[in-house]
């Protein structure tokens, strides 16, 4: 066997690997789309469910998921980005910051159901928030923080040190250098971290299970202390808890969740590439 054969075999193998990665995603999206598109209608996305959720639409669940994601963004982005700026730009390298970093890495690996239980104990019971949007949002935000902090810190660190030195040499304070040079340059990476974190929050069931999600609530929330329906939990409910639920409704719900998440991803990618084009180094 000569070298060009080895090369060909290697090439075929790598191609197969690439296909093995992409194929399941395409199959999942394909099946969900083909099965789900049948129930897709204006009513399905704009009406409340009735007849034991077998009829009507999933509007409250869509609104619930959007509200939870928005709330998570409002809570997690300032804290996450602020924390990463502190860790990357200000914190000295000592045992305390090393402990913080270790904690962040470990938090990112904790199963989401554990965050759900923590939210139940901390926000719902101990802080008397009850099963509510605010308790769910705080739980999701805590789950999202480690992802945002670690990717943002990485993005900040990848900005060349020289920019900070130059800014200082021109009479800039440390914050002026961060504000004017470092943050804009790190923005594409920071946005990536935010997207990753928020997409996870939007799609998770476990953290909202005990903290906010309503089994059946055919109206929109009136205050942050109301419960809401949410798409991932609703999907779980109609797939396992309701006998005789038409399969097409389950696929339809899954399709809406997928479209929601993918379009969030798409918008974020556009924002990111806009800022990346403006970056120059």
């Amino acid at each position: 066997m000569n070298r060009s054969h080895v090369q060909k075999i290697g090439f075929v193998f790598l191609t197969l690997c690439a296909i093995a990665v992409v194929a399941p995603i395409l199959v999942v999206i394909g099946i969900v789309f083909i099965e789900g598109v049948r129930v897709m209608s204006w009513e399905f996305i704009s009406a409340v469910p009735h007849e034991g959720m077998k009829e009507g639409g999933i509007f409250p669940a869509i609104v619930g998921t959007l509200l939870l994601t928005l709330g998570t963004a409002i809570c997690a982005i300032p804290v996450g980005v602020g924390g990463s700026v502190y860790l990357a730009e200000y914190a000295k390298d000592n045992w305390m910051t090393r402990a913080i970093r270790l904690a962040i890495v470990n938090l990112a690996g904790i199963p989401s159901i554990v965050y759900g239980l923590f939210g139940l104990g901390m926000f719902v019971l101990f802080m008397h928030m009850g099963t509510s949007i605010i308790a769910g949002v705080l739980t999701l935000a805590i789950m999202t923080l480690p992802v945002i902090i670690s990717t943002s810190e990485e993005a900040l660190r990848s900005v060349p040190t020289e920019f900070r030195t130059v800014s200082a040499s021109l009479g800039g304070t440390r914050w002026q250098g961060i504000r004017n040079i470092v943050l804009p340059q790190a923005l594409p990476g920071i946005i990536t971290g935010i997207i990753l974190g928020l997409l996870r929050a939007a799609g998770e069931t476990a953290p909202i299970l005990f903290t906010v999600a309503a089994f059946y609530l055919p109206r929109l929330p009136q205050s942050p202390f109301d419960q809401v329906m949410a798409l991932p939990y609703h999907l779980y409910v109609i797939s396992t808890q309701v006998p005789g639920m038409p399969l097409s409704v389950q696929y339809g719900t899954a399709l809406v969740l997928l479209i929601l998440v993918l379009s969030m991803n798409f918008v974020a990618t556009i924002i990111r590439s806009y800022f990346r084009r403006r970056r120059q180094w």
């Binding site: 000295k92 020289e162 920019f163 900070r164 030195t165 130059v166 800014s167 200082a168 040499s169 021109l170 009479g171 800039g172 304070t173 002026q176 004017n180 040079i181 804009p184 340059q185 970056r279 120059q280 180094w281």
Partner: protein
Amino acid sequence: MVEPKIRIEGVNYFYGEFHALDNISMEIPSNSVTVFFGPASGGKTTMLRLINRLNDIVEGTRMSGSILINGKNIYDSDINLAELRRRVGMVFALPLPLPGTIRENVVYGLKLAGIKDRNRTEEVLERSLKQAAIWDEVKDRLDSPANALSGGQQQRLCIARSLALEPEVLLLDEPTSGLDPISTRKVEESLHELKKLYTIIIVPHSIQQAARVADQAAFFLMGKLIEYRPGTEIFTRPREKRTEDYITGRFG
């Protein structure tokens, strides 16, 4: 006796255990070009960076002694660092344009200082680009990205960026090390104009350059100031054997 622009008194500097500067004392007159030269890691760049306190950023360093500018110790606790660095500009060995356009680079220091007046910034833009001998090359594309310029142009842009703040002292750390001979000559020629307005201290990238630009020159070796005399004397009739050895290329 005229008060020198900068007076360095008994400066010692340590990176951890490494004694980078050993009891340096010297006086630097205003409106002249002073050269710090010597072999690598002799302390010349460290000495330069102490004059606008850029080494403050480096962790694990220690300094003693004092550096006076216009008779005022810049290591006093009441010194405003941002203001000091506006008065003492710095140009680095590598051209380091900031992200953004040529215009944004030049006026960045003004922006930091809170100066936004359009007439003022336009005036400063043109003046400093002219002083750095790059105006004719960039005047038609002030809003194009700074990193699209050639290396030599970028370095002159960085000089212009420092000059925009009208510093009293300009520190140049091997400003021509990455440049071709023509760009190098342009930078050196601009120094002769600039010293009429500013006090210039330069770490040259070659001994020939040192001899071309120096009004006075200081020879640094292993953290010590060996010899400090007018350029016309030190390069032709050095007093110290070690200076002579270095200038004639016997070591370093």
